[in-house]
């Protein structure tokens, strides 16, 4: 009886129901229920997420989802952020733009991460999509301000232009003037990554003045302090603001201007920027501190006492990014003042110094874990750690979902006992049952991987460096971590055996990166031959892998599942292993 009713729902009803389902995972589940649900769902999916641009071809996406309005694509592996992926590896967005330009004049949103975007791509976007609204480029490169000018000139309905952490060829700041005077729809602008010695302040000011819906504005370093006041004055409705650079000398008129203007920003919740800030200017922002939920001070080179003063004014802080100048003492104050804290990132001020330059140790992290009940995401750089501290952290904060610890010197042991940190990280995975992301560091044996394989059942992403003793370590992770999607490994003694014994596991993951490990060329070939739905890429700048004996380890290995087959845009130092000869040159 019930069965009959389900089949008699008209498609429009189902479509309406599906429209409330936004999450990708849920949408995918819906499409697996039955043939007719698959069909209905694919016609009404409006947002498409492709976690690896090489896992599928643009044509396949377009064929399956004929009416999407928004696409998110990711390109290079995460380790590209740290220069481990050579330039020219890939991740070009142009083929996607080209296909979509033909198929979708109504595309509205494009979000890209770690992709190569050319001016040509930007110009094509500007030309092809009449209702284009959102462009978010995160850690992308390959374009210049000319491409941005094209977007500014043509996209009349643009709401969001966000260039976070991009590498942009700064040819001219005048691209901003390409926004026509009639253009007023900007809601979010993030140009913090741009350089430009000469910035078009007047164009920026005029833009801010006429876009009354502007909620997010993140300026770049070129905008000096006195200009900031002028800009903010016209945008008291801002919710998120990133300052430009501060001047070296404190001028009372500039200061009072700034203080006045900040007090009129009643909606401000997030602040960032603060390049070259000097402590004397900080009180100017005190009026907004009590409402702040997000504060990014990771470029602010101010010392602990000033940081403490600032942070104590922000009781509602949920997210803090800061340099290790905050020191343990500052983190203790944070722990007692900011009970709503959910995310903390502490970056190293002197990452290459052998000796610590600040008094920041594991104690700071312990303090915050004990004091902040809502803390769930941490990225922490420090120079020493102990199992005892990690166990304390794990037990007091079992709600961690992201835990990334970087002990700066590789293979650093527990400073109290001189033992490996296996037990400490083991406690983290044991107590934090919802842990989705983990980055390891310090001295670690295969044992830590056994803990991870046993306990980290919800773990989706794991980053490993200079750890482990043998293939057993890798085997524990691949065979135990059921939810694993991304695994990135560098400088570990993991070889062929664990990889080949867990070959099937790789098809259930998005990708595996291994560099400076011990996987032989022969094993790569075997994997490539036997696993047609995996792309096995060998990246080696030393030359063709077959110019060395087969049992030689490859320099870098990137394995990802794909239904698009091997790609054809590889540079000379990347080889794909496939069924044919086991070796295909680009």
């Amino acid at each position: 009886m019930l069965k009959k009713m389900a089949f008699s729902f008209p498609d429009e009803v189902l479509e309406h129901v599906f429209s409330f389902i936004q999450s990708d995972k849920d949408r995918n589940a819906v499409s697996m229920v039955c043939k007719s649900w698959y069909e209905i769902e694919r016609w009404c999916r409006r947002k498409v997420f492709v976690g690896n641009c090489y896992a599928v071809s643009p044509r396949m996406v377009i064929r399956r989802f004929p009416e999407f309005r928004s696409i998110e694509l990711k390109g290079k592996p995460h380790f590209a952020d740290f220069n481990l992926v050579p330039d020219g590896w890939g991740g070009y967005v142009f083929p996607w733009i080209a296909e979509m330009a033909g198929a979708y004049p109504w595309l509205e949103e494009i979000r890209l991460k770690r992709m190569v975007v050319t001016d040509e791509s930007l110009e094509l976007i500007a030309k092809s999509f009449k209702n284009f609204k959102v462009l978010v480029l995160s850690s992308c490169e390959g374009f210049s301000t000319d491409g941005l000018a094209a977007i500014a000139a043509s996209c009349k309905n643009l709401k969001e232009l966000d260039l976070r952490d991009c590498e942009v060829d700064d040819l001219s700041a005048h691209w901003l003037s390409h926004f026509p005077e009639t253009y007023t729809s900007l809601v979010s602008l993030n140009i913090s990554c741009l350089g430009s010695d000469e910035a078009s302040f007047s164009a920026l000011e005029r833009l801010v003045r006429r876009c009354t819906n502007l909620k997010t504005l993140r300026l770049n370093r070129a905008v000096p302090l006195d200009k900031i006041a002028n800009i903010l004055r016209h945008a008291p409705q801002l919710v998120e603001f990133g300052t430009g650079t501060y001047t070296a000398d404190v001028r009372p008129d500039v200061y009072s201007d700034l203080a006045g203007v900040f007090s009129s920003c009643k909606e401000l919740k997030s602040l960032s920027g603060f390049w070259d800030v000097i402590p004397d200017y900080l009180p100017a922002i005190y009026p907004v501190c009590s409402k702040l939920t997000s504060l990014n001070l990771s470029y602010a080179t101010i010392q602990s006492p000033d940081l403490i003063k600032l942070v104590s004014h922000c009781p509602n802080l949920q997210r803090l990014l800061v340099l290790d100048y905050i020191e343990d003492s500052g983190l203790e104050v944070l722990a007692s003042s900011c009970k709503d804290l959910q995310e903390l990132r502490v970056f190293p001020s002197d990452p290459f110094g052998a000796e610590p330059n600040v008094s920041l140790t594991e104690q700071g992290l312990v303090a915050v874990s004990l004091g902040c009940p809502k803390l769930q995401s941490v990225l922490y750089f420090c120079r020493r750690m102990s199992n005892e501290a990690l166990v304390t952290i794990a037990r007091s904060r079992p709600n961690f979902t992201r835990f990334r610890l970087c002990i700066i010197e590789p293979k650093t042991a527990d400073y109290l006992t001189l033992e490996p940190l296996d037990v400490g990280f083991g406690a983290i995975v044991q107590y934090c049952k919802d842990l989705r992301r983990l980055s390891l560091s310090g001295l670690l044996t295969d044992r830590v991987f056994e803990y991870i394989g046993t306990y980290a059942k919800k773990l989706e992403m794991l980053s490993v460096a200079f750890a482990g003793d043998s293939d057993l370590g890798l085997h524990h992770v691949l065979s135990g971590c059921e939810s694993l999607r991304k695994l990135e490994i560098r400088d570990c003694p993991f070889g062929d055996k664990a990889l080949l014994a867990n070959a099937a596991k790789l098809e259930t993951m998005r990708s595996l990166w291994m560099s400076s490990c011990a996987v032989s060329f022969a094993a790569c070939k075997l994997l490539g031959q036997k696993m047609p739905r995996l792309n096995v890429e060998v990246i080696d700048e030393r030359g063709p892998p077959d110019s060395r004996p087969e049992n030689c380890p490859v320099d870098k290995l990137y394995i990802y599942r794909s239904i698009a087959g091997p790609r054809f845009d590889m540079p000379p130092f990347v080889w794909t292993m496939d069924e044919d000869s086991g070796l295909r040159l680009s």
Binding site: T245, R561, I563
Partner: protein
């Protein structure tokens, strides 16, 4: 998501539990093979009783042997729980490309030996510049820190590698360095160096050249036009602006 995109037909049915042959599935086999040898490391005890982290007890002694997941049956997934496991995986029928054994290192080519030949994985103590991408800090953050007056070193202004006062230069600051006679090139981050002295010191350490032998090496570089020049013949700023890659050669005479 990616795997489902190629479907024109409804997805294949999930493998029913009855036909799922656990014995042919490499992963399960490996779990079994691990047995008690590999799991002889004590696992953490849960609960408030475990106050002393140094006092970790074996789980092996208290586990039941009914679970085929190996001797230490603490939290290992038993095969009775297989349905939960099946839902997530579309398990291919053939797949172990290698049978797992207890002795991963019983082969001739011990991975750790092989690693020494691959010098990019060798770790140099206190030689941060020798390790690419470590610590894992994004490029523009590194540059910011070196402009810090407080924590910085001798010369806090970056060389011409930076572009204006922007957040990031448009080119990576890493260049390749080769040494004559050494097949494997290294990479060095130029933004942390401000003089030939500092650069040379780093290079000597990177390639393990002692102070006494320093004199027998010369630093050369290849400029944008492809010509090889002696580094010390030009001023530092010119060198930084035009160099593409470096090479240490043995000086003759």
């Amino acid at each position: 998501m990616e795997l489902q995109l190629g479907l024109a037909l409804p997805p294949p049915p999930l493998i029913p539990i009855e036909t799922f042959d656990l014995n042919s599935y490499g992963n399960y086999e490996t779990r079994e093979a691990l047995g008690t040898n590999a799991l002889s490391w004590p696992l953490l005890k849960l609960g408030p009783a475990d106050n002393d982290i140094n006092n970790i007890h074996h789980h092996n002694s208290s586990s039941s042997s009914s679970s085929s997941g190996g001797g230490a049956g603490c939290k290992k997934r038993s095969f009775d729980e297989a349905p939960f496991f099946d839902e997530k995986r579309n398990v291919p029928k053939t797949l172990h490309l290698l049978l797992w054994t207890n002795q991963p290192n019983d082969e001739d080519d011990d991975p750790s030996n092989v690693l020494h030949e691959n010098s990019s994985s060798a770790i140099f103590k206190n030689d941060g510049e020798g390790l690419v991408g470590w610590p894992p800090v994004k490029t523009w953050r590194k540059k910011v820190h070196h402009q810090i007056p407080n924590g910085g070193t001798e010369n806090n202004r970056l060389p011409a590698v930076e572009n204006g006062i922007g957040g990031r230069a448009s080119k990576s600051t890493y260049v390749k360095v080769k040494m004559e006679g050494v097949p494997i090139a290294r990479k060095i981050d130029l933004s942390v160096h401000h003089s030939f002295e500092g650069l040379t010191n780093t290079l000597m350490r990177m390639f393990g050249i002692s102070d006494g032998n320093r004199k027998s090496f010369k630093l050369t570089y290849q400029d944008r036009e492809g010509d090889w020049l002696l580094a010390e013949d030009v001023p530092w700023r010119t060198f930084i602006r035009s160099l593409k890659c470096l090479k240490l050669i043995r000086s003759r005479g």
